[in-house]
Symmetry: C2
Subunit: 199 residues, 2 copies
């Protein structure tokens, strides 16, 4: 790309490294930046650096936060005896948006995946088990994704936790609300059948 100056090329290159941004989008973003007022560019740049510098893991639940203990773990109104285990902070946010779960969370930061070489030690599993011995927990709700990795992690976790006598549950899988049966894959349809509830 010799048609652009080295600074523009560098910016395009940096943008195209980000997930979901191809060569064309990276170009568009780079020229958008060049046309922005200087203050806005500096705001973007410092938001990036500041977030990286200030965001850390909550010492309790390992979500990404900018305090030692995240607001959810600090909230005394929440039920600290129920832990929902999620794969990442975005999944935590998805459940928080429902506004109906009043327990606390544990963020694994990944899922077990032999394919990608991610074992139990590469995610925050040990930390969860330590919490279970340290705190008084009544139930662990496993809300990992409904993918091969998520299911593997759920199975592994339940085998580890069950012997301790703590109740372990898994969020239901089935037909999504508003979903049209015609367009839903067979595995999901079978799951929905297996998990049917009496009315």
């Amino acid at each position: 790309m010799e048609y652009y100056s080295s600074h523009i090329n560098k910016l395009i290159e940096e943008f195209s490294r980000l997930p979901g941004i191809g060569a064309k989008s990276a170009q568009r973003l780079a020229f958008h930046i060049l046309n922005l007022p200087k203050e806005q560019v500096e705001e973007l740049s410092s938001a990036i650096v500041d977030a990286k510098a200030n965001v850390c893991y909550c010492k309790e639940c390992y979500t990404l936060t900018d305090q030692e203990i995240c607001p959810i773990c600090r909230n005394e109104k929440r039920n600290h005896h129920i832990i929902m285990v999620v794969e990442n902070t975005r999944d935590l946010a998805a459940y928080e948006k429902t506004g109906k779960f009043d327990g606390v969370y544990h963020v694994l930061h990944g899922a077990i995946s032999p394919m990608l070489g991610i074992g139990p030690d590469d995610i925050k599993l040990k930390e969860l088990l330590q919490r279970l011995t340290r705190e008084e927990i009544e139930e662990v709700i496993i809300a990992t994704n409904s993918s091969v990795e998520g299911e593997t992690t759920a199975m592994y976790l339940s085998k580890l936790i069950k012997p301790t006598g703590i109740k372990v549950s898994r969020i239901a899988s089935g037909v999504p609300v508003g979903g049209d049966l015609e367009y839903i894959d067979e595995v999901t349809l079978l799951r929905a059948l297996e998990g049917r509830v009496e009315l």
Copy 2:
């Protein structure tokens, strides 16, 4: 978005202001940044600031460059008597990629659009006319987009330049190479018919 810490929210907000990046993509980008090594984050951030700080308009052709005069305008091997007028630096790069145009460029940084309130004074038109009186130009090739704004700009430009006796041409519009007639709009088909060439 109280589920995230303020630094994360700020980063998501900054990303979602960029063109073509919605709320979900902005979240994905933000968490991607948080998982990157610190050096890479700083590299991205400084690429943004550096590009904005160092990139300016070429004093000849007004393309975005980091030198006073861009490499194309400085290149003595190029034909400085033929100017191709484009809307922006990306369009210049598109023609440079063909490697077949050996003239120089003039970048307008926009096109006349009464709808958006962009008049002839808002783009680098004056600067083009000054070049035409200052330099010895044989031909001006108008390569603005084939949109309403691009066509308006082309018409306006040709009316201004023709009285000076300089040859003015417009890039051809018609069926794109590899295009299937069946899927091409009627206006393009008519243009292709009008612009037919004898074999």
